[in-house]
């Protein structure tokens, strides 16, 4: 294993609560004693801090502690769920009796779960909050602020935030063993406002990883974010109205992979497909993309924001091929939906916290590199849009319609990048968009570690990535009709 992570998680959660492992197994016995197929208890103890520099001073800081346990009983397609902010035996037993009301009469369909003892270590079980002293954290923010302000005289405002989380989790899903993990997560962001004559623009760039704060000190990452934020803001000062209508769109590498997350990722989550509510339901084996496209969801990447050795149900994560050479291969599953669809879980059962139920969620979703040089892709476009950076996106998984909003984009004219255009929303249809991919770059890049995915009110950290892509037709929502 990471046995050390399990040991640390037990120590952080059970010791302060005065609980023994045997107490938990007793509660599990009681939970599984009802006529339920299976069930689990998710313990979490989470420390979170944030620091904000604004107007050149350390303006805000906060420290938050969240802990509790969620108890779930599963029976056929039914779920009973209760949670408590207190981790103690009385609360756990009360939760068990609450959730067992879901149990059916008669036969159960209990599955024996494989026991997993070893997982690859994807990150050190370190505490990011302690990786720098508080003085070092504020000195670091001040230094980046000073260096950022020197980058350009048109900078009016600099806001820098630094966030660190340490999450201890323990999962009981059978009567005699626990899975556990210690999950670090850090995130930093630099945003600037620039002004020139009567125009004013913003730029924002950040990054993060399952690591500690020293991540930002390496390779000049922090000042790199600042340079990017300033560069983007300055580009947008000169932006002209974006074109409107269907056109050839070249997407940059890295974070524009949010295309994959929205256009196809959500539609391939097991719950929607089990229920038949996704535009991709029942389409495994069919062509949903051009043969140039192979897309995976990979929770096993070292230290990435979306990485986890085990998901929130204790299932080891894996690299799941979603689309191979354009053919739909499979879905992302949690335990409930895998059982109901008669397939194996894929380690995608994730939850925002103990107070939320797990669902199939993405980890790091990206498209594998192709063979084209990025320059060659741009040169092949007579007239179109080059979208280099994006804000957020959204999808309606049933109709398949998705949007994502460009925050840095340029016109392509006669194979050359010409003028920057204002941000615009791009809209398309998930099952169609990848069939129009005509060139795939050799420059696969993952995003810098900033993604947060929302589904049914639950947020989880994720990663995306892709090489430069050419899409022959996509609707660009500018104002220039």
């Amino acid at each position: 294993m990471d046995n050390s992570a399990l040991k640390l998680a037990k120590q952080a959660i059970l010791v302060p609560a005065g609980l023994q492992e045997s107490n938990i197994y007793r509660v599990m016995d009681q939970l599984l004693d009802g006529a339920v197929d299976n069930g689990d208890i998710y313990f979490q103890s989470s420390h979170y801090e944030s620091w904000v520099l604004e107007d050149g001073i350390i303006k805000e800081g906060s420290h938050n502690i969240e802990q509790g346990a969620g108890v779930r009983a599963l029976c056929g397609e039914k779920t009973g769920f209760a949670y408590s902010d207190k981790i103690d035996l009385t609360e756990l037993l009360a939760a068990v009796s609450n959730v067992q009301a879901i149990a059916r009469q008669g036969q159960t369909a209990r599955l024996a779960l494989p026991t997993h003892n070893t997982y690859p270590q994807l990150y050190a079980p370190a505490n990011p909050l302690k990786s720098l002293s508080d003085q070092e954290k504020v000195d670091f923010l001040r230094r980046i602020d000073t260096e950022t302000r020197k980058l350009d005289p048109r900078i009016e405002q600099v806001i820098i935030s630094l966030v660190g989380v340490q999450d201890h989790i323990l999962i009981a899903n059978q009567g005699d063993s626990l899975a556990g993990d210690v999950r670090p997560l850090v995130r930093m962001n630099v945003s600037v406002i620039v002004a020139d004559k009567d125009r004013r623009e913003q730029g924002s760039m950040g990054g993060g990883a399952r690591a500690d704060y020293t991540y930002f000190l390496e390779q000049d990452r922090a000042i790199g974010y600042a340079r990017e934020a300033v560069r983007m803001a300055l580009v947008n000062l000169d932006a002209v109205p974006a074109p409107a209508g269907s056109m050839t769109v070249v997407l940059g590498s890295g974070w524009p992979g949010i295309l994959l997350h929205e256009a196809i990722g959500h539609g391939l989550e097991g719950d929607f497909n089990r229920k038949g509510t996704s535009a991709f339901s029942g389409r495994v084996g069919e062509r949903v993309a051009s043969p140039l496209c192979t897309v995976v969801d990979d929770g096993t990447l070292q230290g990435r924001r979306g990485s986890l050795p085990i998901d929130d149900e204790g299932t080891p994560t894996q690299c799941t091929t979603l689309i191979e050479n354009g053919i739909l291969k499979g879905y992302m599953q949690d335990r409930l939906n895998a059982r109901l669809m008669g397939v194996q879980p894929t380690g995608n059962g994730r939850r925002e916290s103990y107070a939320h139920t797990p669902m199939p969620r993405m980890t790091n979703t990206y498209m594998l590199a192709g063979e084209s040089y990025p320059e060659e892709i741009l040169q092949s476009v007579k007239n179109g849009l080059y979208a280099k950076n994006f804000g957020g996106g959204q999808v309606d998984i049933t109709s398949g319609k998705f949007v994502f909003s460009a925050s840095e984009a340029y016109l392509i004219e006669n194979g050359k990048i010409t003028r920057p255009v204002k941000g615009a929303t791009l809209i398309g249809n998930g099952p169609d968009v990848l069939t129009r991919v005509s060139m795939v770059g050799n420059d696969l890049a993952l995003d810098s570690g900033v993604g947060t995915c929302g589904k049914e009110g639950q947020s989880v950290p994720v990663g995306v990535g892709q090489p430069t892509l050419k899409i022959d037709a996509l609707t660009v929502g500018g104002t220039n009709v």
Binding site: H63, G68, S84, A195, R199, G276, V403, G423, G477, G478
Partner: protein, 443 residues
């Protein structure tokens, strides 16, 4: 009443917490606490799918050491945790910079009257009855039309909570509130193309909810209407934002006139006070004390009393929305908006949606928006949309996979009418809004 005892007990917790902050050397502090319990059930395809019992609590404290400030929060309300939480906030404050604008509000601005706003109406519904209600809601949706082919189910949710807030100037108040909802989402299928839509009702009093049958039927009706949608060619056109999404236009306004955006100069409405930002028939105002309304409150997040406000009069912006901090940064006075607005309303004309369609004659009725797509610094606006194409005041066909774009400054000036079909399900209450012209991008 048991709730009153609970409130008094929790007020003591905040009282103790503020004392602890003082003991640890803070020159000032404020603290809040909340406890929420709830039941949430979902039924799908005629059977229960999930039953969730909610019970969460949390406390938060902000301490000041002179002009230095630090915050901390915890989900553990024990005496030991309170002490540790205060210590964590104090540690942060030590490393925060001196900020001349930081601090508690002026005492004379704090609320002293605490009217009963009718926010607390517990709904003692059992899980079994909630399941039956959800099933009946979904049944009415599934029976509505043969093209309703699948369902995401119907949900019944009920929450009750207690909020306590206090500060070291002697402010201490707590109140209980409830919130209940019924919602339904179903899927229609025509020629292999699926569409989904939903409807919901939310209220502080369960008696004020729309009936489960009505909600189910309305969800199904909305889904059926969307089937067979097509894109439009790229063009300019008048646009109506239907009431349930028009609130988004006003929330962009609220963001742009909030103190935080203004002092950061990240607003498209900088220096707009006392200028005409809407046509002169537009009045936008706030009614924080509406009995039983979802946005009602006696005081803001700092304890400052809320009051009826005219925000826009005859199209002219009367006030920014300021907290104590942003007010000091702008050399102004707090307007009691540390937690945003409370029941924002816009005056409506005498046209319902059907009449508004006639007024537009030819154009797009937008009923759903997708994505963020709004630049708060410039007001540039571009979002995914779906809805209906309208000719001669009549709906012609559903529209999908298009974007609508413009700039909020222009869009506000180009409002031609506001309908009287007001959606009261949120903190922003507006009817449908007709805008003269926006860009539509499609196939």
């Amino acid at each position: 009443m048991q709730t009153q005892e609970e409130i008094s007990r929790l007020e003591m917790t905040i009282h103790d917490l503020l004392l602890e902050a003082k003991k640890q050397g803070a020159s000032a502090a404020d603290a809040g606490l909340s406890i929420d319990t709830g039941l949430s059930v979902n039924a799908r395809l005629g059977d229960v799918e999930t039953v969730e019992h909610h019970c969460s609590q949390g406390l938060g404290v902000t301490v000041y050491f002179g002009q230095q400030k630090g915050s901390a929060s915890s989900t553990d309300l024990s005496a030991q945790s309170i002490k540790e939480t205060v210590t964590a906030a104090c540690t942060i404050a030590r490393y925060a910079s001196e900020d001349p604008y930081a601090g508690l509000p002026e005492s004379e601005m704090l609320a002293t009257e605490f009217k009963d706003l009718g926010l607390y109406h517990p709904w003692n519904i059992s899980a079994k009855d909630a399941i039956e209600l959800a099933i009946s809601c979904e049944d009415s949706a599934r029976q509505y039309h043969a093209d309703i082919s699948n369902s995401e189910g119907a949900s019944v949710d009920t929450y009750q909570g207690i909020r306590i807030f206090g500060n070291s100037l002697g402010f201490l108040n707590g109140y209980a509130s409830t919130r209940h909802s019924i919602s339904c989402s179903v899927i229609g299928d025509r020629d292999g193309n699926m569409e989904r839509d939903y409807w919901y009702s939310v209220a502080r009093n369960a008696d004020a909810l729309e009936s489960a049958e009505f909600i189910g039927k309305k969800a199904a009706q909305r889904t059926i209407q969307r089937l067979g949608g097509r894109s439009l060619s790229t063009r300019k056109s008048p646009i109506i934002y239907s009431a349930e999404i028009a609130s988004g236009l006003l929330s962009s306004l609220l963001g742009a006139i909030s103190g935080g955006s203004l002092y950061r100069k990240s607003s498209f409405l900088l220096d707009s006070l006392d200028t005409q930002i809407f046509p002169d028939f537009i009045n936008i105002f706030e009614q924080p004390h509406l009995p039983g309304a979802l946005g009602s409150a006696c005081y803001d997040a700092e304890g400052i009393s809320t009051k009826a406000n005219k925000i826009v009069t005859d199209g002219i912006l009367n006030t920014y929305l300021l907290s104590t901090y942003s007010a000091r940064k702008l050399a102004m006075k707090s307007t009691g908006h540390a937690a945003g607005v409370h029941n924002l309303c816009i005056n409506s004309g005498n046209q319902d949606l059907a009449q508004l369609l006639k007024t537009m004659d030819t154009g797009l009725l937008v009923t759903e928006l997708m994505g963020q797509g709004v630049n708060p610094v410039t007001g540039d606006y571009s979002r995914g949309a779906s809805g209906f194409w309208v000719e001669q005041g009549e709906i012609q066909y559903p529209v999908q996979e298009i974007t609508i774009a413009g700039n909020l400054k222009d869009m506000y000036q180009q409002i031609l009418a506001v309908g009287n079909d007001i959606d009261e399900r949120g903190n922003i209450r507006t009817g449908s809004i007709l805008i003269e012209e926006m860009a539509i991008a499609g196939e």
